[in-house]
């Protein structure tokens, strides 16, 4: 009878399918188009250009499960602990055609991702140079996958530390929820507080414990 419950849970969690992460990301052809690296003067074209950059960034981050980028566009955190982040191919520079995006245009692209598409968020709204969270999976979806897992496995009501949620796998998290960087996890948890699904226990200004309700 107990297994029946496990079964229903298994079939319900579509969150468990993990993509393969070893292959290098294949950049679209437009990444080799030299003018992509110059902000276009024609505004209609520029809009299209910003869309292309956004698609590229989202696909890239999803591929490597990168959850945040620095202001310069370098990966800050990834769920894939085997990746060497500083060795990933560069997003904003293409050495083979000797082109790169300048800082001004980078921040315009990020602004587009954040304000127009709502697929990214500044890590610190007051200090935009700290970089962005990239939500190739919407924040709400992260939250509900995590909550459903805790609920389905009967782990609501227990207090966990951020460390337990991010670094160990005592909680039996599906692969898609494992190894989330603590900065990203805290962002997810805060969104769940608003939904009334989580309580945070504060200690000296930091999160000491998390309880799913």
């Amino acid at each position: 009878m107990k297994y029946d419950k496990v079964f229903t849970y298994l079939i319900k969690t579509t969150c468990t399918i993990a993509p393969s992460m070893a292959e290098p990301f294949i950049f679209p052809k437009i990444h080799s188009f030299p003018p992509l690296y110059t902000k276009q003067p024609n505004l209609t074209v520029q809009e299209k250009q910003l869309e292309s950059w956004s698609d590229l960034i989202l696909n890239y981050c999803q591929h490597y499960r990168v959850t945040s980028l620095s202001q310069a566009g370098l990966p800050l955190t990834s769920q894939n602990s085997q990746l060497k982040l500083d060795q990933l191919p560069s997003i904003f520079e293409n050495k083979s055609i000797d082109r790169q995006v300048n800082d001004e245009f980078k921040s315009i692209i990020f602004k587009y991702l954040v304000n127009k598409l709502h697929k990214a968020e500044y890590i610190n709204v007051k200090k935009k140079d700290e970089g962005i969270f990239v939500w190739w999976k919407p924040l709400l979806e992260w939250a509900s996958c995590l909550y459903n897992h805790m609920n389905d496995t009967g782990q609501t009501g227990t207090v966990f530390t951020i460390f337990e949620l991010t670094s160990s796998n005592e909680l039996g998290l599906p692969e898609s929820l494992r190894n989330i960087d603590s900065s990203v996890m805290i962002r997810i948890l805060r969104s769940m507080v608003k939904q009334g699904r989580t309580q945070l226990i504060m200690e000296d200004g930091e999160i000491g414990g998390v309880k799913f309700i």
Binding site: V6, L10, T13, F33, P35, N42, V45, R99, G172
Partner: protein, 248 residues
């Protein structure tokens, strides 16, 4: 320990079940889709004549993920070999689709698309791999002839053994007569030659244009989305790229 082992095993089992179910479902879906494609060819007359039937059939197509317009093009053209005239309706509907593709890709290519790219766009927009259209260059050419009768704005260009469809926007823009000017054509030819771009220097050295002439035509083409600016050329020279490069 045992619990952990069980959990892993069940996770694996669950994944397998998910995978199998989803692959069975997608097989069933493609069987249904091919049945609908065949049906549309066998009964194309009924579908054409009976409007109530057609409405229901169209709704069914949409529900199982087949683009009804693509299906119509397929059924009207089925079994007629290239070079032989197809029903007038075939061209009319295909024409509609060509205009759609042109409008959709305009922001990206500025209104110039190679026939090869256009055909591949037309042939793959059906929504399912079961239905692959086989639109030919002949078909496209016929359609463009009809379009021309409806007014200027669409024109086939030949350059370096490849054919291109050039279209100006419905709202006009600055190409007054809707066609391409001689200067624009020269720029396109230079782009094909260099592999995608022109510079003031190239235009000056090859066509003898002075700076003003270069600036006027390039400015105009940038505003129409026909050229993209690149400020990082060799030694910082500005290059102007022709955007259909991306899709070719």
């Amino acid at each position: 320990m045992l619990l952990r082992y069980n959990r892993e095993a069940y996770l694996e089992l669950g994944r397998l079940i998910n995978e199998r179910q989803s692959s069975q479902l997608s097989t069933q879906l493609s069987v249904l889709q091919s049945a609908i494609v065949n049906f549309s060819v066998d009964h194309r007359e009924t579908i054409r004549v009976n409007s109530e039937f057609r409405t229901k059939f169209t709704r069914l197509c949409q529900q199982v993920g087949i683009d009804p317009v693509a299906l119509l093009i397929h059924s009207l053209g089925a079994g007629i070999s290239d070079g032989v005239d197809k029903p007038q309706e075939y061209y009319t509907i295909l024409l509609l689709r060509i205009v759609e593709v042109c409008q959709e890709t305009r922001a990206m290519n500025g209104g110039l698309i190679s026939l090869k790219e256009l055909r591949s766009q037309l042939n793959t927009t059906s929504g399912t791999s079961v239905l692959e259209l086989k639109v030919t260059d002949n078909d496209v050419t016929k359609c463009i002839e009809v379009l021309k009768e409806l007014g200027n704005g669409y024109e086939i260009m030949q350059s370096n053994n490849s054919s291109w469809l050039r279209f100006s926007s419905i709202t006009g823009g600055s190409s007054k007569d809707g066609g391409i000017s001689v200067d624009q054509r020269n720029i396109y030819e230079m782009c094909l030659f260099t592999g995608g771009f022109v510079t003031y220097r190239l235009l000056h050295d090859n066509y003898g244009w002075d700076v003003t002439r270069c600036a006027t035509i390039i400015e105009e083409m940038i505003m129409e989305g026909l050229l993209w600016l690149d400020t990082q050329g060799l030694k910082g020279e500005w290059q102007y790229w022709e955007p259909s490069w991306i899709s070719n």
